[in-house]
């Protein structure tokens, strides 16, 4: 490989062009366009004429109780899903990393939810969550718990959604954690054993810190993923954001504004609010990560 010449640069550019074109048209252009749209106060969608620009959309969001509800629900969802999902998948990954029988089978079983269509999965969970015929209420009934209206009671809609999302995301996190665990040299465990560390201490003093880069990656990806939750809601509650908007999240709000009310300005503004929130949270995570993930 020598220095890039005009010719070699041009050749490389040709190779990059097809992908670049698609990304530009379907990703970069919409990102810029939606930023612009969020500042349209008055807009004729059919003739693409902007009568007035301003920050009306953002003011609308500031005052819209529905948007506030969506924000609140989204935060509850993220806080409900991410820590639980990380802890559960770490524990399962550690179990799968030990020498148990049928290890390969278990790995596949845990990964299946991740590669299955959300709609198909949600239909199964609608049955599981069903108030009268659902298997979940049946099991709870065995312990004397009265039937819970998982999907129709506003109080239980969000927990149902969280349970489904945790279950669905486990497989991916487990695979990442497994890879991380296998990267930890066995010698550290031997050394810790000789140094007198019990199994629990080995977990907290060796596994957890040495796995921190993986945990960091998983948490960033899951937080971003959880903020974007939409399909699960749409499928689980049959095209509704849960009973009494109890599962209305920001992306669902954007969807409703855009496709339901054709209020493109507000939808774009809400999208940018979500972007800013995720952006700030990721920056905070990067900052913490830099200080905690150091070796």
């Amino acid at each position: 490989m020598g220095r890039p010449t005009l010719k070699s640069t041009f050749t490389a550019f040709l190779y990059l062009l097809p992908a670049l074109l698609i990304i530009t048209v379907f990703t970069i252009y919409p990102i810029i366009k939606s930023l612009l749209i969020s500042f349209y106060n008055d807009y004729d969608f059919f003739q693409d004429i902007v009568y007035e620009r301003g920050i009306d959309s953002y003011i609308y969001l500031w005052n819209d109780p529905n948007f506030h509800l969506a924000l609140k629900n989204t935060f509850i969802f993220v806080i409900g899903v991410v820590p639980c999902s990380i802890i559960l998948s770490l524990l399962i990954a550690i179990l799968l990393n030990t020498n148990i029988k049928l290890r390969a089978l278990f790995r596949t079983v845990y990964f299946i939810p991740f590669v299955t269509s959300v709609v198909a999965v949600s239909i199964v969970w609608r049955w599981i969550f069903h108030t009268e015929y659902g298997v979940l209420n049946y099991f709870l009934g065995l312990f004397g718990v009265d039937p819970i209206a998982w999907l129709t009671d506003p109080k239980w809609a969000m927990p149902s959604l969280i349970i489904l999302s945790i279950w669905k995301g486990l497989g991916y996190n487990i695979i990442i954690f497994l890879a991380g665990l296998q990267n930890i040299n066995d010698q550290y465990y031997l050394a810790a054993k000789i140094d007198g560390a019990s199994a629990i201490k080995r977990f907290f003093f060796i596994t957890v810190p040495l796995l921190s880069p993986t945990t960091f990656f998983v948490s960033v990806v899951s937080i971003i993923g959880s903020f974007k939750v939409f399909d699960e809601i749409y499928a689980l509650f049959g095209g509704q954001p849960g009973p009494a908007s109890s599962a209305l999240t920001v992306v669902y709000y954007i969807f409703e504004k855009f496709y339901g009310e054709w209020n493109f300005g507000v939808a774009s503004a809400a999208a940018y609010c979500l972007f800013i929130i995720i952006f700030i949270l990721t920056l905070i995570q990067l900052y913490i990560g830099k200080r905690k993930v150091t070796y």
Binding site: L190, G196, F205, Y295
Partner: protein, 361 residues
Amino acid sequence: MKVKLNNLSMKFQDVVAVKELNLSIDKGKLVSILGPSGCGKSTTLYMIAGIYKPTDGELFFNEKLMNGLEPEHREIGMVFQNYALYPHMTVLQNIMFPLKMQKVPKRGALLRAKEMADLVQIGHLLDRKPSQLSGGQQQRTAIARALVRKPKLLLFDEPLSNLDARLRIEMREEIRRIQKELAITTIFVTHDQEEAMSISDEVLLMNEGIVQQYSPPQEMYDQPKNLFVASFLGSPPINQLKGKIFGKRIHLMETEQSIPIETEIANEDCTIAIRPEAFYIAEGDDFSLTAKVEFIEQVGRDIMAIVTIGQATLRAFLAREDQIQQDETIKLGIRKTGFHVFSSANEQNLPIRPAWDGHKN
């Protein structure tokens, strides 16, 4: 602490890694386990550490049976081949880790860790992470960590193999110094004979899971029990010649030459092993071997002559003053200390005394 191994064996599936090992190590001694790779030396160490559970036999520390005890309860310290320093902890945290696991109060632990760091001369590096240390410094940290808990037994698993030649010599002297200073029973696994010879009180030489010889290093070099021991020790390796014993002489195969000996054995095929440094130019001796010089190498203060006797090629260290020439035929005397005869049947050392009066011995 005294360590005793009683018929200790280790099988992996159907491979026998260590077979019926008997060994007794006195308090405060440094014992090297030496052998080619795959000879079972690391397996033996891991069994003593408790990482492997022996499939048969008993292991005693001070008359106390240790077989079922987990490593964390054995009061041992261990230095691994790649040091296994915890990468997320500083040098100080690494050294303090065993104390932390023992719930030693922090003040005392800190003092103790610093004392150990000074002993291995890394007191100025306490705040560094292992990735910021050189190989030798990592090694010293690992030793400090192994020592900090005042273990009764210190184990080294090929600790010097990742260091460069100069540092290796420095570190092995350092290990010997620390071991002597603390008078701690130590087991040192290595495949490097020079390392084992230079620092050990006793050497255990293993091959294919079986003990070949257990004795002080010089004794092992001078009185090898079998051909494997003789050929494993020494660099360049010991010379080997095929021969047959009859009529108080060993007759060299495919030659007219023979070596006078005193023995009761007759009519036995044997292998004669002669150290390269045991040869000298014979002048007026009553016995010598006639050899043809094929090639001469200058090796510092000596010269090494590559000579042939019959079909066999031998190496001989000779003095520069001897002034031998290539293609010359020379008379080689043999010092008795470097002369051994082994049975061809079972490779054991044969009871044979040299019967010549060399002027150099």
